[in-house]
């Protein structure tokens, strides 16, 4: 099976099958990441824009880097731009994208979404990348473009905020 980096090289030559494979491999983690980052707003636009940039810049991808890091770096930058453009709103769900079999969102899931949405953007990014996507500290630092120490401190502050809110809410 081709590696992600090999697939990007094929994509740079206009190989549609390579794009299909990459989409299939990353559709869940990437869409979840964007959803959690933006609180469910503009997920489809940001998802499409992320892949658009992957396609447009595939020829410039450095094969010594990990594709996943590059992909999430693009997504992080787009999500940050989105937050700069759009004022924060309460958590919402893009109902038209909801899978038919999972339309009933639980109250607990909504609480979790609100908790994440309440975190400052920089801390939320670290929590989502480290907790939900299992990126290492080094990869997270690479994606966010900050030192490893900053990732550690953001994780610490995020955890402190989450703990405080959980205690407040009596959850």
């Amino acid at each position: 099976m081709a590696t992600d980096e090999e697939l990007v090289a094929q994509l740079a030559h206009g190989d549609e099958a390579a794009l299909r494979d990459l989409l299939q491999r990353y559709e869940r983690p990437l869409s979840s990441f964007i959803h959690r980052h933006t609180g469910g707003r503009d997920v489809e636009d940001l998802y499409q824009e992320t892949w658009w940039r992957v396609v447009r810049h595939a020829a410039r991808f450095d094969p010594t880097r990990r594709f996943s890091t590059w992909l999430f770096q693009i997504a992080v930058n787009l999500c940050r731009d989105f937050h700069r453009r759009s004022p924060p709103e309460a958590y919402e769900s893009a109902d038209d994208l909801v899978a038919p079999d999972v339309r009933q969102r639980s109250e607990a899931a909504a609480d979790a979404a609100r908790l994440l949405a309440a975190l400052p953007e920089a801390q939320r990014e670290v929590i989502v990348l480290r907790y939900y996507h299992d990126f290492s500290e080094e990869q997270t630092a690479d994606i966010l473009g900050c030192p490893k120490g900053t990732v550690k401190s953001r994780l610490h502050h995020a955890l402190a905020q989450l703990a405080a809110r959980v205690r407040e809410g009596g959850q």
């Binding site: 740079a12 030559h13 206009g14 190989d15 549609e16 099958a17 794009l19 299909r20 299939q24 491999r25 990353y26 559709e27 869940r28 983690p29 869409s31 979840s32 959803h35 959690r36 997920v43 489809e44 998802y47 499409q48 892949w51 658009w52 396609v55 595939a58 990990r66 996943s68 769900s93 893009a94 994208l97 909801v98 899978a99 038919p100 999972v102 339309r103 969102r105 607990a108 899931a109 609480d111 979790a112 979404a113 908790l115 994440l116 480290r130 907790y131 939900y132 996507h133 299992d134 990869q139 550690k152 994780l155 610490h156 955890l159 402190a160 989450l162 703990a163 959980v166 205690r167 959850q171």
Partner: protein
């Protein structure tokens, strides 16, 4: 990157190595319980399908420009030895002409040599014209069925 939703132990690892958290441990179990309840209700496959539809023209454009780059490179590569080959052919044709003109009348020898030269030129032209056709056909063969 796992690509799954299974929560790792990033928070637990942090608490274990952080002096501050060791002194005043956060309610890790409660925090992770809340975080684990976060379910993203998206039809990711539908998202990818729509993204692919949007990206297909761009990928096709990239494929075409890549094909032309290959054609150009192959043609340039094939043209490199051409002057040498033509010079060697001209040398051979002159030898054959000298030999033939010793055996048959000069006009007939010239006719035979010009005929052979024309055949060689046709052969070269066909070979060079086949390069883009060969590359295009190989590309069509490589392309997977849409679906």
């Amino acid at each position: 990157m796992s690509g799954t939703e299974k929560p790792p132990h990033a928070l637990a690892a942090h608490v274990a190595e952080c002096d501050e958290c060791r002194v005043a441990p956060p309610p890790l179990a409660r925090v992770t319980a809340v975080l684990e309840a976060s379910v993203v209700l998206l039809d990711a496959t539908a998202l990818s399908r729509r993204a692919l539809l949007r990206l297909q023209p761009e990928v096709a454009r990239m494929a075409v420009s890549n094909l032309w780059r290959k054609v150009l490179a192959a043609l340039l590569l094939a043209l490199l030895p051409l002057p040498g080959v033509l010079a060697y052919d001209a040398y051979l044709l002159r030898l054959v002409y000298e030999l033939a003109s010793a055996l048959v009348p000069a006009a007939l020898a010239a006719y035979l040599i010009f005929g052979y030269a024309a055949f060689l030129i046709l052969l070269f032209a066909t070979t060079y014209a086949a390069i883009p056709l060969f590359l295009a056909e190989r590309r069509v063969g490589e392309r997977p069925a849409l679906g």
